[in-house]
């Protein structure tokens, strides 16, 4: 399979140079430590600082906040190269700012941007996004967490769950209902909630995969949040959340096909080395076909994602088409991941069931990719409506 080591219509010299930086950084600073972080259930704060020093956190954010104002392909480069480490937990927690911060950067006041975005981009603070509630994740418009105005504060009460980086986060972008009278998508707003706000309780959740990422259940009990921490206009949260989800899905597509590629490479190396019945496994036709099917699915998902990014950057399509294709890309890429993780473990035989191979870990991380950031079913519903089906 081709590597994007040389410039193309999608990647300029700068993209290629940054890819090289991130790849070397991940090889040295991440790969050797993954097992320790998986055991610890979280990433060390020092990693955020180191990542910030090479510009890995500020990729797409404006320069005045310490970012690099990179384009969407620069974000794809960063996402692919982090995912190459083969630990979804690393990708999820190191990348939780990519879902938590954009609403604040795009719609937040100067004060909010200085107080929260600048230190996150500098790797000094950790950001998270809290939309999902115990009562429902897919149906965002049904969220129940309330924020009631009381003088200069909102008083927040409610529950959020499955929140990535939720244990460590210093700033949490929380979707709340600011207008108790409004039903559905109206009356939803985003608030920036400081991690040390009195009344915020966090409970750690244990899970099937993504062990290097801390995931939390958050309870808000009469949390007083300054009115200044309202992100954008009151009631504009739903629209902001939807656009945010769309970018998350593009990132997840890139993450999924890259992790699928990690499985493919591990299985290929194994099949070429492993001798059975007098020859390498890679000489058995059935194994060869499996490997080709894997490569083909990865290629399809990757090419689709690049095309979506390219057409978006060149403003080729109406938003609905972009949203529909992004949804389809996430489903396509996570299907490729599902298939490749399964086949890689199969090709590795008993070894694929043992801790220590990337494929074993990734196999446990398939499901969160088909559920988080929009389930397969919800994304197909969305694509159908956007395509006018």
């Amino acid at each position: 399979m081709y590597d994007n080591a040389m410039p193309s219509i999608y990647f300029s010299d700068e993209h290629v140079a940054f890819r090289q930086t991130v790849r070397a950084f991940i090889q040295k600073e991440v790969t050797p430590n993954i097992q320790d972080w998986e055991d610890a259930g979280r990433l060390p704060r020092s990693l955020y600082k180191k990542a910030a020093e090479i510009g890995l956190i500020g990729v797409i954010y404006p320069e005045e906040l310490g970012g690099s104002a990179g384009d969407l392909f620069m974000h794809v480069v960063a996402t692919e190269e982090i995912s190459r480490a083969g630990s979804g937990g690393v990708s999820a927690s190191l990348g939780s700012h990519t879902i938590g911060l954009p609403p604040l950067v795009k719609h937040g006041s100067d004060h909010l941007r200085q107080t929260y975005a600048v230190p996150v981009i500098a790797g000094e603070k950790i950001a998270a996004l809290a939309v999902t509630e115990p009562g429902g994740g897919s149906d965002v418009a049904a969220l129940k967490t309330r924020a009631v105005r009381d003088g200069g504060h909102f008083v927040v009460n409610g529950e959020k769950t499955f929140i990535t980086s939720g244990m460590q986060a210093d700033v949490i972008t929380v979707a709340v209902r600011t207008d108790p009278g409004a039903r559905g998508s109206g009356g939803i707003s985003f608030l920036a909630v400081a991690g040390d706000t009195p009344g915020l309780e966090r409970t750690e959740l244990t899970k099937m995969g993504w062990w290097a990422s801390d995931t939390a259940h958050l309870s808000f009990n009469d949390c007083r949040v300054p009115v200044d921490n309202l992100i954008g206009v009151e009631g504009g949260g739903f629209q902001a959340a939807m656009l945010n989800f769309n970018n998350e899905r593009l990132s997840m597509a890139a993450q999924a096909y890259t992790m699928a590629d990690v499985c493919y490479r591990e299985a290929l190396a194994w099949a070429q080395e492993r001798q059975a019945f007098g020859k390498p496994l890679a000489q058995q036709q059935v194994i060869r076909h499996k490997l080709v099917d894997m490569a083909a699915q990865i290629d399809v998902a990757r090419t689709l994602t690049y095309d979506i990014v390219w057409r978006y950057m060149n403003q080729m399509d109406p938003l609905q088409i972009h949203v529909a294709r992004t949804s389809m890309a996430k489903v396509t890429a996570t299907n490729a991941l599902k298939f490749c993780a399964d086949e890689a473990v199969q090709i590795l035989g008993g070894m694929g069931f043992m801790r220590g191979t990337a494929s074993e870990r990734i196999y446990r991380e398939v499901k969160v990719m088909t559920i988080g950031g929009g389930t397969d079913e919800v994304l197909k519903n969305l694509a159908a409506s956007q395509l006018g089906i």
């Binding site: 080591a5 700068e14 940054f18 070397a24 090479i54 510009g55 690099s68 104002a69 990179g70």
Partner: protein, 252 residues
């Protein structure tokens, strides 16, 4: 003080090298190329000199094909201030020999008047290990090779060298040519903000003819071959068996 750092574009050290079918060399078409790792160490050292206030400008030079521009951009992204690209070949397979490189560098040194030239000890593509030494001879400057530690103080530099059996420390008179070894420092990553900034830093384009240097090769490559395949190993059951096998093989 200016610091001049020559950087070479070489096949990336992660790439599995393939020999061209006609044995004339290594296939470099559509292969990932990077800065020679020893040159990265030289660039890093130069930037540290600047950060320590001992140098005020770092100039990177590359001599070769036009694509060496990418290598120079890497040096600029690491922190070099400006770059000089000397185009001396069209075909990516053409290697400019150390003497020609040293002659061009000598001319650039005359023009730029750096206080020190920091080179990699050798390039990982053909391991010549000659350019720095030749440049020193051409200029009549002192040289400190295989540096694992460099301490520049006014008109002398202390250069610690890794030699067989230990470390040797030389005191060399400035200006000097210093060639750097693996353990001198750990090069920094080119950060994204610096990659973006590097786009705007000056990069002068010259040709070998501008310096009046004839780069026609003097060396002839007779043959290039792949290393012999390693024969399969065996697993021995005990130390005794290992000793037995080594004796059989005449190794002990």
């Amino acid at each position: 003080m200016k610091v001049l750092v020559p950087v070479k574009r070489v096949i990336d050290y992660n790439v599995k090298v393939r020999v061209k079918a006609d044995g004339s060399g290594v296939d470099l078409a559509n292969v990932k190329m990077s800065m020679n790792p020893f040159d990265e160490i030289a660039v890093e050292e130069a930037i540290r000199l600047k950060e320590a206030g001992k140098a005020d400008e770092v100039i990177a030079v590359s001599i070769g094909v036009k694509q060496s521009q990418e290598t120079l951009r890497t040096a600029l992204a690491m922190g070099a201030d400006r770059a000089i690209l000397v185009i001396a070949a069209d075909d990516v397979h053409t290697d400019i020999e150390p003497l020609s490189v040293a002659k061009i560098l000598a001319k650039i040194v005359e023009e730029e008047q750096p206080g020190v030239v920091l080179c990699g000890k050798q390039a990982i593509d053909n391991d010549m290990n000659a350019t720095g030494q030749m440049l020193s001879a051409l200029l009549g400057w002192s040289q400190g090779t295989f540096a694992s530690e460099v301490d520049i103080d006014g008109d002398t530099a202390k250069v610690t060298r890794e030699v067989d059996g230990g470390l040797q420390t030389l005191s060399v008179k400035m200006p000097a040519i210093i060639t750097v070894d693996l353990r001198l420092n750990e090069p920094r990553y080119a950060s994204l903000p610096n990659i973006m900034k590097a786009k705007k830093k000056p990069l002068d384009e010259k040709t070998a003819a501008d310096y009046g240097v004839d780069v026609t090769p003097r060396l002839e490559i007779v043959k290039t071959v792949e290393p012999a395949e390693r024969a399969a190993g065996i697993i021995v059951g005990s130390v005794d068996e290992l000793v037995e096998k080594l004796k059989e093989a005449g190794a002990v």
